[in-house]
C-alpha cells in the first residue's frame, strides 16, 4: 500500500487537490482510502465518499490535533491495509505552523496557496520545510510573475522538494502530481517509524482544562516572554 501524508494550512486547497488526484488514480483502476483529520467538524468525508473511496474521519475535539493525528495514524494505516487499499492518503491541517504530521521514509506532501502571502512560506515550520513534495494551488488567480516569486520563496525554505503547481478546480497538474504518487512509499504498517520532527510540547495547567488567568494558576511547562 502506498501511503502519503498530506498537510497544509487551512483552506489551502488540500481536499480539492486530493479529489483531483483520486480521479486520476481511479482512471488507473486503483483502490484508494483517505483518512481525514480535522478539529471540530468536517463534511469533506462526504466529498470523498461520493468519489467511491474508503474514508475514515477523525476529529480531535478538545485535544491538540497533531498529537491526536500521531496517536491514531498507525491504526489508520493498518485499517487501510486490511481493506486492501492500494493508496492511502492522510489529510490533516497544520494549525499552529510548528507542528507537522510528516513521518520519516513516508512521502510527505504540503499544500500551500498563492494567495496566502509572500511571507507565509517562512512562517510555516517542518510541515512545509521538511516536505518531499510541495503543491502550490490557486495559481490561476494570480499573474505568472507572482507565481514565480511565490515558488521561489517556497524553494528558499525547502530547496530539496519537488514543487508543483496544481489547480484544484480544473485539475491542471493533478495528473502529473499523481505520477509522483505512484512512487510514494510502499508500506504495510507504521510500526517502528518516527516523525520527521518533534511536535511542540505543552504540559501545563491549561492543557488540563485550567481557564483562569494569573501566575498562581500556571503550573507545569510554562515559558515567559521577555517584557
Amino acid at each position: 500500500m502506498r501511503f502519503l501524508t498530506i498537510s497544509g494550512p487551512p483552506s489551502s486547497g488540500k481536499t480539492s487537490v486530493i479529489l483531483r488526484v483520486i480521479e486520476a488514480l481511479q482512471a488507473r483502476q486503483k483502490k484508494i482510502g483517505v483518512v481525514k483529520f480535522d478539529c471540530l467538524l468536517t463534511d469533506d468525508d462526504k466529498l470523498y465518499a461520493k468519489k467511491g473511496v474508503l474514508v475514515k474521519k477523525g476529529l480531535s475535539g478538545a485535544l491538540c490535533p497533531d498529537h491526536y493525528f500521531v496517536s491514531n495514524i498507525e491504526a489508520c494505516v493498518t485499517w487501510g491495509h486490511a481493506n486492501h487499499c492500494e493508496y492511502l492518503i492522510s489529510e490533516s491541517a497544520g494549525l499552529c505552523n510548528r507542528c507537522s504530521p510528516h513521518i520519516k521514509e513516508i512521502t510527505a506532501v504540503c499544500v500551500i496557496d498563492n494567495l496566502s502571502g509572500i511571507n507565509t512560506p517562512k512562517k510555516i515550520g517542518p510541515m512545509l520545510k521538511s516536505a518531499d513534495i510541495v503543491v502550490i494551488t490557486k495559481g490561476d488567480i494570480v499573474s505568472q510573475a507572482e507565481r514565480e516569486v511565490f515558488a521561489s520563496r517556497v524553494k528558499q525554505v525547502n530547496p530539496g522538494a519537488v514543487i508543483m503547481n496544481v489547480n484544484g478546480i480544473t485539475g491542471q497538474g493533478a495528473f502529473e502530481l499523481t505520477s509522483l504518487f505512484e512512487e510514494a512509499s510502499d508500506i504495510e504498517t507504521l510500526k517502528g517509524k518516527v516523525l520527521r520532527f518533534s511536535m511542540p510540547s505543552a504540559l501545563c495547567s491549561y492543557c488540563l482544562g485550567e481557564t483562569r488567568i494569573g501566575e498562581e494558576h500556571q503550573t507545569g511547562n510554562i515559558r515567559k516572554m521577555e517584557i
Binding site: 494567495l115 509572500i118 517562512k122 517542518p126 499573474s143 514565480e148 530539496g160 495528473f175 502529473e176
Partner: protein, 332 residues
C-alpha cells in the same frame, strides 16, 4: 554540487559573493552576525534548543542550505538553448492516432483553437510536463530532437514554460516597480535595476494608458496588467516557451506584445479565438475530441485579410479613445 570552499572563506567575503544566504537564513528565523569567522563556524555555533523552537534540526538546516546553494548556482548558469520542440502525436479521446510530428522553433507563434473541453489544456499540459507517452494522450515531447532531461519537469530554475493566464489579478501590496524588482531578485538577474527600468518602459509602450513606476499593482487596469506581465515575461523569464491564454483586446497593443515575445526568441503558444491574433500566428492547431485534428498554415489570402481586419480593429480602437476622452460618435 555546492562548492565547499565558500563555507571556509571569511564570512564577509562569502556574504558579499552570495547575498542570498542572508535571505535563506532569515526565512528560517535565523540571523547571521559578522563576528563569526566563516559560514562553517556560524553553523557550528547554532544552539540545538533555539533550532528546535524554530522547528528545525541542524541536519535539516545543513542539508537545505546545500540544496539551496546548488539551486542558486544553477540559476546563474546559462540555460541550455532550446532550438526546437517536437510534438510526436498520440491519440484522441476515441483512441484514433494523431499521426503527426510537429516541430516548433523559437520565434514562431502557434495558435491553438478549439471549443471548450476539446483538449487545448491537455496539449499545453503535455508540453509543460514534457510528456513521454505517460499522459492520457500518449504524446511525446522532444527538446532539440532529444528525449529531454527530467530537470525540465521538476526544477523551478529550468521551467520550460512560462504561462500567461487570462486572469491577471495581483494580490501583493506593492508598486509596479517594487513588484518587478522582487521578481527580478528572485530570478537572480545580474542587473536588476536596469531590467526593472526596461520592463516598465516596455510595458508603457504596450499599454494604451501610461502608468507610473509607483502605481500599486492592484490599481493597474486590465490592459496595463497584461502589458506589464508580457514585458516581464519577455525580459525576465528564462523559459523558452511562452504560453498565452488569450490576450484580451483592451488597453494593450497586441501586435507589439507578440512582436516583443517573438524578438526574445520564444516559442509562443497561444490559445485564442480572436481572428486578428489567430492570423498573426504562423500556424493554427485545431483541437477536436482531445486530439490535434488539423494544422492550418496561415495562407497568403489570410495574411491579406489580416490587414483589413487590423484596419477595422484600429477604427474601433480610435472610437474607443474618443469615448474615453468624452467625444461623441455622431460622425464615425
Amino acid at each position: 554540487m555546492t562548492d565547499r570552499t565558500l563555507f571556509h572563506k571569511p564570512l564577509s567575503e562569502t556574504l558579499a559573493d552570495h547575498p542570498y544566504i542572508n535571505d535563506f537564513l532569515d526565512s528560517f528565523g535565523l540571523t547571521i552576525e559578522l563576528g563569526e569567522k566563516t559560514l562553517a563556524d556560524y553553523l557550528d555555533t547554532l544552539d540545538p534548543d533555539t533550532l528546535e523552537d524554530l522547528g528545525l534540526s541542524e541536519e535539516q538546516l545543513r542539508h537545505s542550505l546545500d540544496e539551496f546553494l546548488s539551486g542558486m548556482m544553477a540559476l546563474s548558469d546559462p540555460m541550455e538553448k532550446v532550438e526546437s520542440l517536437t510534438i510526436i502525436g498520440g491519440h484522441n479521446k476515441s483512441g484514433e492516432a494523431e499521426n503527426l510530428e510537429l516541430v516548433l522553433k523559437p520565434g514562431e507563434v502557434i495558435c491553438i483553437v478549439g471549443p471548450t473541453g476539446s483538449g487545448k489544456s491537455r496539449l499545453l499540459a503535455d508540453i509543460e510536463w514534457v510528456a513521454q507517452g505517460d499522459t492520457p494522450t500518449k504524446r511525446k515531447i522532444l527538446i532539440n530532437d532529444q528525449v529531454p532531461d527530467s530537470k525540465w519537469r521538476f526544477s523551478t530554475e529550468y521551467k520550460l514554460v512560462a504561462q500567461l493566464s487570462q486572469n491577471m489579478n495581483f494580490v501583493m501590496d506593492l508598486s509596479a516597480e517594487e513588484f518587478i524588482r522582487m521578481h527580478a531578485e528572485s530570478r537572480l538577474v545580474t542587473d536588476p535595476e536596469e531590467k526593472v527600468a526596461q520592463i516598465l518602459q516596455q510595458a508603457n509602450e504596450l499599454a494604451g494608458e501610461q502608468f507610473e513606476p509607483d502605481t500599486p499593482v492592484t490599481s493597474l487596469s486590465g490592459g496595463q496588467s497584461r502589458a506589464l506581465m508580457i514585458a516581464d515575461m519577455a525580459i525576465l523569464s528564462k523559459s523558452p516557451i511562452a504560453l498565452i491564454d488569450e490576450i484580451e483586446n483592451a488597453g494593450i497593443d497586441r501586435k507589439k506584445a507578440l512582436d516583443l515575445l517573438v524578438k526574445e526568441e520564444k516559442i509562443i503558444l497561444m490559445a485564442t479565438h480572436d481572428p486578428i491574433l489567430a492570423l498573426m500566428g504562423d500556424r493554427r492547431l485545431v483541437i477536436k475530441n482531445g486530439g490535434i485534428d488539423k494544422i492550418i498554415e496561415s495562407s497568403e489570402a489570410e495574411r491579406k485579410n489580416l490587414l483589413s481586419l487590423e484596419e477595422l480593429d484600429n477604427k474601433l480602437l480610435a472610437l474607443r479613445n474618443r469615448i474615453r476622452t468624452g467625444d461623441t460618435l455622431e460622425t464615425i
